[in-house]
Symmetry: C2
Subunit: 484 residues, 2 copies
Amino acid sequence: MTRYATLAAILSQRIEQGLYPTGQRLPSVRTLSQEHGVSISTVQQAYRLLEESQLVEARPKSGYFVRGVRTLAELPAVTRPVQRPVDISQWEQVLELIRTKPREDLVQLGRGMPDISEPTLKPLIKALGHMGRHGDLRSLYYDNIQGVMGLREQIARLLLDSGCQISADQLVITTGCHEALSAGLRAVCQPGDIVAVDSPCFHGTMQTLKGLGMKALEVPTDPLTGISLEALEMALDQWPIKAILLTPNCNNPLGYIMPEARKQRLLTLAQRHDVAIIEDDVYGDIAYQYPRPRTIKSFDDDGRVLLCSSFSKTLAPGLRIGWIAPGRYLERVLHMKYIGTGSTATQPQLAIADFIRHGHYLQHLRRMRTRYQQNRDLMTGWIMKYFPPGTRVSQPRGGFMLWIELDDEFDTLRLNRYLERQGVQIAVGSIFSASGKYRNCLRINYAPKLTSEIEQAVRRVGETIQSLLLAPVAGIESALAQRG
Amino acid sequence: MTRYATLAAILSQRIEQGLYPTGQRLPSVRTLSQEHGVSISTVQQAYRLLEESQLVEARPKSGYFVRGVRTLAELPAVTRPVQRPVDISQWEQVLELIRTKPREDLVQLGRGMPDISEPTLKPLIKALGHMGRHGDLRSLYYDNIQGVMGLREQIARLLLDSGCQISADQLVITTGCHEALSAGLRAVCQPGDIVAVDSPCFHGTMQTLKGLGMKALEVPTDPLTGISLEALEMALDQWPIKAILLTPNCNNPLGYIMPEARKQRLLTLAQRHDVAIIEDDVYGDIAYQYPRPRTIKSFDDDGRVLLCSSFSKTLAPGLRIGWIAPGRYLERVLHMKYIGTGSTATQPQLAIADFIRHGHYLQHLRRMRTRYQQNRDLMTGWIMKYFPPGTRVSQPRGGFMLWIELDDEFDTLRLNRYLERQGVQIAVGSIFSASGKYRNCLRINYAPKLTSEIEQAVRRVGETIQSLLLAPVAGIESALAQRG
């Protein structure tokens, strides 16, 4: 890490820990330069970084101040899932969500789709089309089962930003993060095994456990700091857990970034109980802070962490390019990859390698980081405006998902049925739980350009919730029919 | 099927069954026209088809004759695998084979790679590059989890040629045939279950069984007619078999096409014992006969056949586009696909749909059918010339693989170690067996342009075999070193 990045990281951590509260003036450039023994320009560069990641604002002639985070809504409560291993259900609801094709008359707020309309993606589209013009045959061949070396080298370079020193030889390219997670799980667990997960947990992960015949043990999770280490430790003492599967950075759906100290403690726990960690970092590169947060993998000294990620959230999901750094489980993962897909399509690998090599990837990340952060604030404002009072909303520190918690008794499955007729799609909370919890929650995607059409869709969701809360069950149909 | 195609199929079957032996004059155009109540031009078109598929030759002023098939080599024996369920090993040898990257100093005769250098593939490369020039964003999105509708429609149309009436809704696009087979197996079997397979059997299938914790029961197989129905019936009576997995068309590695009557009998057997059939048809479109052979799926009337295929052998493996027609298991397969890869890359799907829609696919098949058939004869000739007397060689009726059986005591694993130093790669026979059989066999790929460089490689393989057969064990090293 460069000097200014290190300094920025230190300051950002202090802000995060509340040492410099919102609105407070930060130390002057001169003070920091003396304190840390670095040049004036290093401090200025560090502050520029912090401005970019919207943690700090410069006020002319006054210096740098901690940016006010508008606390718009109350946070969701710490989750309290069933704390025993369960078999996963909810496949029908997931299928309904993923089977829906984009169509004109439907506002899709439910899926995990990034915005792919920014001009910073253009060089990628160009790279994908490159081959045709030059009659390049490389992309018709299988490449090495581990994936195109050029791409693995670029990923290895990017991983340095998350504190990981991983060589290209230790990486396996996969068909999206789905294959990374699936191969990782099959490498370390058998059917019937118990896997501890953060809760709520990405529905794809849940369904993978279901499909592989494994049981999920959902661990209580804090919407700011992530999986409860205390509850996890108890679970590890009580059950023969084989792996811990979690998303510590820009968690889906809660949006938190687990503090570094907790990441280290989690690793120590895993070592003490000798279990593997499957770390889903698919949103890690679009954390709103810069430099991006470290992974648990970056602390791993005995190869027990399987780091899984992809370009589906940072670039585009249709490319289906992910990767896994499986540590000591490399050979098992290769076997699982071989039997799952043989290898991964060559052309998108070549195109992405090209895109990163020319610096376009980091440029695109910079843009998306700002865009998504702005969208988060705008969408949170809409939720506060249109949803019933008392609605709790997550405060994501990366990614593009809001987790919304409604009144305990509210049923978003029922909400969803009414919304369908009104051309709005959401992700219902229950698919994020193995045991059908979170029926009173929903997840909303704020990645796209937030047009007035989307605002109207959010308004419709809010109004439908209000109607369902107020109207007696029998009267709802007609109340909603009138609105229709 | 058109009238002339139906007539061609009837004649081709009669030739196949030996009713018209090699060299015999076939009925005149006029006779057939009267006999089948079709027009003269229909018969002429039928004969043109049979000429194209090299079953028949026209002799000026004499009529049509059954083409002489040069029986160059003795066929391998009917296989006699261990007839009890076994756990699969041989992963290390498979890994060695698939990890090898194409390189200048290595002649790769071992892998299942088609020839991708024919000009009939050019429109596909163009279609793949199309997007970049037009800034088309479709390929960056996920499509429906079942795959791009346009491609599924084209595949449904192609499937008619194998006698299958399957709608686009009943198809799922997969990441290569690997994912089709893997998802299919996981849809119908659990870990620990027994799956009956033809033997020898594609190593990818074997490794999939291994990876999924299933047991293989290898059934004796005839190099001309395929899996022994008698042995299979005994096995079904004796063991709790859950599925039959086989490649009845252009079998890999043996090259046979199972006769239609046997396909029907196999289906009846499966129905009687209520087991699923997983049918690998990945080489079916490059059978040397036209129209192409029917699938078992085409007889399926209760949805128990899961038909798996891909464009990896007909077009190019680096595209990673396959499909499955899972019959009654559609929803289970969708779940397995979702957890395995989420969905399949969009761009290659769009490009292939475009390629088929414009008629390029069938044109490419026509070319490859002729090319591979010519290569088969040439390669068989080289084997006969350079390999020891008594070598048995398969007579493939499609695809691009030769199966070669050497002296019972011969060890191709040992051969392989010597060949590596000489820059030649083969596929050793033992990876095609769950129980380590076929150590005296090897598989050779004859897809590429058969240059003198390849002939020299085949010669080196033959000579190394001869040395290993003749030289006393201790003397081999030096004998080979001198040759080196």
